[in-house]
Symmetry: C2
Subunit: 377 residues, 2 copies
């Protein structure tokens, strides 16, 4: 834990909570050089839409269709069962209102697609998007994606102030859960508002690990490793290989090469790393998948490079980083749904099994719990 | 957010991280009056088991069986599909090692059952339990439940020091995710270590809301409302009713009574509260369920009181509190599993759709992402 960062962000959030919109305006001016109205207007939407070439509209539409096709299979149905006249199970309800943070470093329309598509499939009714403005403007592609997905609530807000505004409801209606990646300040702010609102996960710098043997095309492997390093200087790329030749070929700055005695050893190393993305380009594929415990995503074979998954395969690119794949997974429709426990117990079953509850309440010293079960006839 | 609590807990966690086992020992002595070895020994296990009467062993066994039967239906299977020679989908892996916090205020063997049963079903391999000792000892029922579920790693550790020890791996192997309810200090500590490890949810004081009409037995409703108030002085109980008579009958200290014009109005009020537990005891049941968006659990009809669900129905009693039902749900087997995205794309599909990725990489200014897609033939 970075206690300095923690204290810095905690101070900003406290200030935002206490002084409200004034504080948000000040931070916005300081960090984004912006002091206009936060919400994107209809005129700005229209201008942006006109700026997108026809060809790009088609590209984006096809990409969203692919995402939709993949994610709609993830929708949860209720899971109910009957037993001795009783009904038990889970039902699912969408979260009513979410916030999506889109980082401004590079304009990332794909981030908005990746979060908003599963949200829409889940049935989320209200979506607020926050994105840091550049010279007072929002990237037109982000606005086009928003429009396509029926999102008209976009705010020119970045950093800790965006997270504070969404979590505390400053300059907008409070959201129930915040999604989307960001820099370390945004991440720390999300971590700190967790509890006040829900959050998706804490996305850090990009990571790729490639398990490859002598059958892999060296060019492909190297290009994939380098692709993830362009996200930023904190990004990491590991090559886990049984091929000395490949190891040498990929020995470049930024790439961590591990020469292993066997492919099984490569999978062990991958499990230790728990990488965001894991490519497996080997003669044996599914047998190795069997051995993987910790990874955000597993991409198999020579035609599944991470950038393809990042952009157009339809799979989600919001994935756990920094070892979080040990305890969390890829973003799914389920992250926009809440399972609600449901039960309707029959008189017969209740009376037949009540003694269990009565004794447990006694053991735990809960007299009124006991009374509530006893009073029923 | 309680900034004072936050600072206090942050200070303790920092101290624990920096000074390790020494700090844990000091806090343990200060807060639990304990300075012996932390891990429960085989002798202590055996003593505890001998202390449990035969009848209670049977009660606990039957309760665990009911929990098992309910939760095993929640196990996730992989979700794969084929498309144009490509394979896409999700696979699930259990979290390897978890920590379960069992609060010490009242000895709560049921808490351990509720968390450990779905963990075992998910396939979690290592489970560490932390429970604050009382006069140096752990409640024998908790140890019995642990033994039954094959858990031999139990630590006499409470409060912030327990959470710190599990998250940073002090006096034990670091866990991947921490589960279980606790007081406000434990909750705040869980919130703060989130990111270092995963956490389940932030359990606060118990809550019940009852929607009831004139057909409900007044005694049952009152007993249920009172049952949740015995958890502690911060617990809350709401009666949402169309019946003036019932409203008057339940007007007792601690119960918040709302007289509504219709049952639909009762459901609106319930959605605003987003209660941990919602009982519906009315002539119409499922029609009202349809209107509920925010609740941890919905218990229907006269024979599904919250205490029955707390103890023996088999449903899970780890539920979102304090309005968290707006963004999170009941504990399920899924909380012990990680979805991993998987894809194996065919050459044909890759080449046919690559243009989408190439253009999106261009729009986002990611040259090496483009290169990784371009290099493939």
């Amino acid at each position: 834990m970075d206690f300095e960062l923690e204290g810095y962000v905690a101070g900003m959030l406290r200030d935002i909570k206490e002084r409200g919109i004034e504080a948000v305006r000040e931070y916005s001016l300081k960090f984004d050089g912006y002091d206009g109205p936060f919400r994107v207007t209809d005129e700005e939407f229209n201008e942006a839409l006109e700026a997108i070439p026809e060809r790009d509209r088609e590209i984006i539409l096809r990409t969203i269709e692919r995402l939709w096709e993949y994610h709609e299979r993830q929708m949860e149905k209720e899971r109910l069962f009957l037993k001795k006249g009783s009904l038990y199970g889970l039902i699912y309800r969408p979260i009513r209102r979410i916030g999506i943070y889109v980082p401004g470093g590079k304009p990332l329309p794909s981030t908005l697609m990746m979060v908003a598509v599963p949200a829409k499939i889940a049935g989320v009714k209200e979506i607020a998007v926050a994105i840091p403005p550049k010279e007072g403007r929002v990237n037109p592609y982000v606005l086009y994606v928003a429009k396509l997905l029926g999102i008209d609530e976009v705010y020119k807000l970045g950093g800790v102030q965006a997270i504070g505004a969404m979590a505390y409801g400053i300059g907008m209606k409070k959201v129930d859960k915040i999604f989307g990646p960001g820099n370390k300040f945004v991440n720390e702010a999300k971590r700190q508002v967790f509890g006040v609102v829900g959050i998706d996960s804490l996305a850090g710098p990009s990571e790729i690990a490639v398990i490859a043997d002598g059958t892999a095309e060296k060019d492909y492997v190297l290009a994939d490793l380098l692709s993830q390093l362009e996200h930023g200087k904190d990004s990491r790329a590991w090559l886990l290989t049984t091929s000395k030749e490949l190891a040498e070929y990929c020995s470049r700055e930024g790439i961590e090469v591990v020469l292993c005695g066997s492919l099984e050893e490569c999978t062990e190393k991958a499990n230790e790393i728990a990488p965001e993305h894991l490519e497996i380009i080997t003669a044996r594929l599914m047998e190795l998948v069997d051995l993987i415990e910790n990874a955000g995503a597993i991409y198999l074979g020579p035609y599944t490079p991470v950038p393809a998954a990042d952009y157009f395969l339809g799979v989600n690119h919001v994935l756990p980083t920094g070892g979080a794949a040990r305890f969390s997974g890829v973003l799914t429709v389920r992250d926009f749904l809440k399972p609600i426990s449901i039960a309707q117990v029959s008189r017969e079953e209740f009376l037949a099994e009540r003694e269990l509850g009565l004794r447990l309440a006694e053991i735990e010293g809960m007299a009124f719990h006991g009374r509530s079960m006893e009073v029923r006839k």
